[in-house]
């Protein structure tokens, strides 16, 4: 009988069952500045990134970043292409490049109690080349991982 009581106690202790929603549940794309050799560099200009909302208004998604080596931007939930305007403000220039991120959106589900999210598969990046030299996809899958670089930015052009 004592054996059975012991087993029931163990069963009750191990019965704690829970579904946990992830704490870090932001889905963002991480960008990093690189030199032509692929080494990380710090941007000396002031960078502002904006995008156009559904109603046609501009919205700033990165405001006046100075001396940064990288940054993260949101990814639209269910839209084939995200369009961003990268404004570089330097000592004697104020130049804007446009960046288009083409992607596939994948609904992601953890539990009925966790908010609906999307993960993304980056397909291609295109851009104007006033200050930007090029952009390259480093990690194509965008999920809760906000520590790994998804897109490398190579600077050049009119600086």
């Amino acid at each position: 009988m004592r054996k059975w009581l012991l087993f029931l106690c163990v069963a009750l202790v191990v019965s704690c069952s829970s579904i946990e929603c992830p704490v870090d549940n932001m889905v963002v794309a991480v960008y990093e500045f690189c030199d032509e050799d692929g080494n990380p560099v710090t941007l000396e200009d002031t960078l502002t990134v904006s995008t156009k909302l559904r109603n046609g208004q501009d919205s700033v998604v990165l405001n006046k970043a100075v001396g940064v080596a990288g940054f993260s931007l949101p990814v639209s939930q269910d839209h084939p292409v995200d369009e961003f305007y990268f404004n570089f403000f330097g000592k004697d220039y104020d130049v804007t490049d446009t960046v288009w991120i083409e992607k596939e959106d994948i609904p992601h589900f953890e539990s009925i109690e966790c908010k609906a999210t999307f993960f993304h598969q980056l397909k291609s990046v295109s851009y104007t080349e006033h200050i930007l030299d090029s952009l390259a996809i480093k990690k194509a899958f965008v999920d809760y991982d906000y520590k790994t670089t998804h897109i490398n930015i190579y600077l050049g052009g009119d600086r």
């Binding site: 059975w4 019965s15 579904i19 909302l53 839209h79 589900f109 009925i112 609906a116 999307f118």
Partner: protein, 229 residues
């Protein structure tokens, strides 16, 4: 993470303990796993069918549950090979996240119970048992009216007909009491441990037919109406 590992270790310890209890037998008979008490009662003692009322009640009064029946062979009132068949269903909606989750599928379990009482041939039984279970199911998950928080475009969050499967094992203890004639009532408590699972690219499923809400392991109870045949 450490707590989860501790819980996982405890689960395995509990299952190993149950296995030891299941296989425990008098010293004279310890050489064989499957033993029967020596007496004048025949080995084959008939069949029993049963229906779980807890899962059925959850299905009728809640948004998820299962109909589950069992067919059990009685060997000498001591060993009971069991086949359990069920049909699990969920049609759930969360008020906060506004996610709708639907699934329905049959599931199958096979296993064995052992009567742990010293007096095997009495009207009541105390069981310990093990099950292996499997289900193959599809899920539909939607979130109507979702809007992108940054761009404010409409988002089509729709996972439709994704095929999934799960294998799990169960360790159980239970009681079975004779009420009248061939009618018995009984309950059991089961620890379910997920062994393997396959889900689509969308993440993890929430409710799995027969298993319940998806996790590495969970504790469940059944209340059975049993008829001896």
């Amino acid at each position: 993470m450490i707590i989860r590992r501790l819980i996982s270790t405890s689960i395995w310890a509990a299952i190993v303990s149950l296995l030891l209890i299941l296989t425990a037998s008098p010293a004279s008979a310890q050489k064989k796993f499957f033993t029967l008490q020596k007496d004048s009662v025949p080995v084959f003692r008939g069949f029993a069918v049963s229906l779980d009322l807890v899962g059925a009640g959850m299905l009728v009064f809640g948004d998820r549950g299962q109909i589950e029946g069992a067919f059990r062979v009685n060997l000498h009132d001591e060993w009971f090979p069991v086949v359990e068949l069920g049909y699990g269903k969920a049609d759930s909606h969360d008020e906060v996240t506004k996610i709708e989750y639907k699934t329905k599928a049959p599931y199958f379990k096979v296993g064995i119970d052992r009567n742990m009482l010293k007096e095997k041939h009495g009207p009541n039984r105390l069981y310990a048992g093990l099950r292996y279970a499997f289900t193959n199911y599809k899920v539909d998950i939607t979130r109507p009216g979702l809007t992108d928080p940054n761009w404010h475009w409409d988002s089509n969050y729709n996972i439709h007909g994704e095929s999934c499967n799960m294998h799990w094992v169960e360790a159980l203890v239970g009681l079975d009491a004779k009420i009248w004639g061939p009618l018995h009532l009984g309950w059991n408590v089961r620890y379910k441990l997920r062994v393997s699972h396959k889900e689509g690219d969308f993440g993890t499923t929430w409710y799995v037919p027969g298993f319940g809400t998806n996790d590495n392991g969970r504790l469940d109870a059944t209340f059975n109406v049993i008829i001896d045949i």
